[in-house]
């Protein structure tokens, strides 16, 4: 069993919270993990990504090879397209439709959505809208974890425990908001896949 995930976003969007939740879920199953992160200059509003690898066998490389990823989880639509060459055939592309525009030459959004839809196995979800309906935009990353949940070798319970362990220091209310966000994201994928 092996799942290779590319997380993508813009510096400051907190993609590492997604990695932390999935990583924590995988750890409780005693799986091997390697998670490569981007620190430094790109964190100032540049493109950032993380390679998250989970396996029941030894993981050699910290980086996922091109054509090797099972899943891209992107918290920003333009960023979802940047790493397509990493995808395996039949892999899934999970993209948040809420754009983060901090460059003057940001492409036409419709063109981006069209390109995402062109890819057969995709989920295009407005995570921010779903999160706001629950409480605030802050939990949109957990909506994204939920949207990706049907495509990972981890159960709902394992992932919810992951959320619990990452957020429990912030209190029960924050935990339940994030778990609800996760569930809504998952429901979206189950009905729109």
């Amino acid at each position: 069993m092996k799942t290779d995930i590319i997380l993508a976003g813009v510096g400051g969007q907190g993609i590492l919270s997604i990695a932390a939740v999935i990583g924590s879920a995988a750890l409780t199953k005693n799986l091997n993990i390697k998670q490569s992160e981007v620190h430094g200059m790109s964190q100032r509003g540049g493109e950032v990504y993380s390679h998250l690898r989970i396996s029941d066998q030894t993981i050699a490389s910290d980086l996922i090879p091109l054509g090797g990823a099972d899943l891209i989880i992107a918290v920003e639509p333009l960023e979802s397209l940047r790493y397509l060459t990493y995808l395996k055939p039949e892999a899934w592309l999970i993209a948040n439709s809420k754009s983060f525009i901090n460059i003057t030459n940001y492409p036409d959004e419709e063109k981006i959505f069209e390109e995402i839809r062109r890819y057969k196995n995709h989920i295009l979800i407005d995570a921010e809208d779903i999160a706001k309906k629950i409480k605030t935009a802050r939990s949109s990353n957990m909506v994204m974890v939920g949207a990706a949940a049907p495509f990972m070798n981890l159960t709902v319970e394992e992932l919810e425990n992951g959320i619990r362990s990452i957020f429990e220091s912030k209190g029960e209310e924050i935990v339940s908001i994030n778990i609800e966000s996760f569930r809504k994201g998952r429901d979206f994928s189950l009905t729109n896949r």
Binding site: L27, I33, K34, M41, A60, D62, L81, I103, E115, Y119
Partner: protein, 529 residues
Amino acid sequence: MQKLLLLGDEAIAQAAIDAGLSGVYAYPGTPSTEITEYIQNNKIAEQRGIHSEWSTNEKTAMESALGMSYAGKRTMVCMKHVGLNVAADTFMNAAITGANGGLLMVVADDPSMHSSQNEQDSRYFADFALIPVFEPSNQQEAYDMIYSGFSFSEKYQTPVMIRITTRMAHSRAAVATKPMIEQNQISLPGDLRQFVLLPSIARRNYKQLISKQDIFEDASEISTFNSYFEGSDKSIGIIACGIAFNYFAENFEVGEIPYSYVKVAQYPIPKKLIQQLYASCDKILILEEGYPLIEKFIKGFHSDPKIIGRLDGTLPRDGELNPNLVGKALGKKLITQETVSTFVVQRPPALCPGCGHIDVFNALNEVLAAYSPGRVFSDIGCYTLAALPPLNAINSCVDMGASITMAKGASDAGLQPAVAFIGDSTFTHSGMTGLLDCVYEKTPITIIISDNATTGMTGGQSSHAENRLFQICEGLGVEKEHIRTFNPLKKNHAEAVQIIKEELEYHGVSVIIPQRECVRTLERTHKAK
């Protein structure tokens, strides 16, 4: 035994704490910063009284570490690769003094220059200084090397380099920890003149260092970190160093590598292991993250055609390796179906919205519009991003502190006005001496120290300037009336323009200090409340 999910940097920090560290010394620099931060935030490190405060620069850090080693305690100094240039004087000479308490020098290289101005390979520095290097291939090895590295350093009385690269520093994996070791007691060197590098003593020490080279090499040959694997396919043998080994292994199912290989993670180069591989394989592919160091040694003057790697184009000459580049070198076909559309434009990093540097540059650009372009010498920090649109405001970024001294040289050449743009932390790191040069000669120069009260680019570490910039500049001899301050806010734009204009017209040393806290650290303080 406990298992923790740690970044390579954190594994190094945890191992040092567990191995009886008494002090870490460092200046922040990507990708090495998280080592020191981990120790600063670690409760046990605090209980044990482990020194972890930031140093002014890498040189002061390394000197302090050498002092702690002199006193017999275990110490570690951490920096990014270009930080080693700053500390090079100490580094080279510490090899001659030797160590007393275990002394580990962790250097984090940044191949592909993710956050750096070059991709120099620190293994060359270690070869230059004649000291051993450990280069971990995974997080567990990083932990184990640090844990055993202190006693290695003490046993051979030598500083040891731990060389990592960006992907090792910033990748997380589970790490099994070892029992906590007590810190050393103070114990001075048996020879109290060991660290006195008078020529007569230095000559003796240097001979000793040379005589240790065979011992270091023997240690590499039998090191458990280095290994030889006998494969069935002899058409090609592989030498894989550090993290490059992982990219090699990634190309095969677990336990199914057909080729013979030598994994190198401890230097000096284990010659015998490599000779054995060379003798038994038709070709030798060398995988190194960074420069082709081993490749150059083995290929030699005669350009041995049996050796392939970065020098003959089998692999790119520059940039970091990855599983695909290594796979291609092994003759594997790349399978990807997708392509990235051309409209997916780059998203370069930028100054944060609301950042004070932006207001300073807006004022500076306005004033400089009256002069011919190309007068702003800048430095290493967030403000380097002003080289990009829309600000397009700077003309140089070379090394820590070079803004002031390059502007001085240009001013000496007749380019006046000449402007230096530097941050508060970079100024105390390496800018103060350059300012003294300007004061000494009354050089016509305008120095802007954009003070955001932090070391911003690396994530907001404390800055040694600590609101003392005015006094520091005054103390160095800048005339009080030409040290100007303002608060870089939109509403103060006219004042900023006026100040910059006046000082550009002054034929002498001016220092302008715009002061406003970094928006990121401010946000963090608010959140904490």
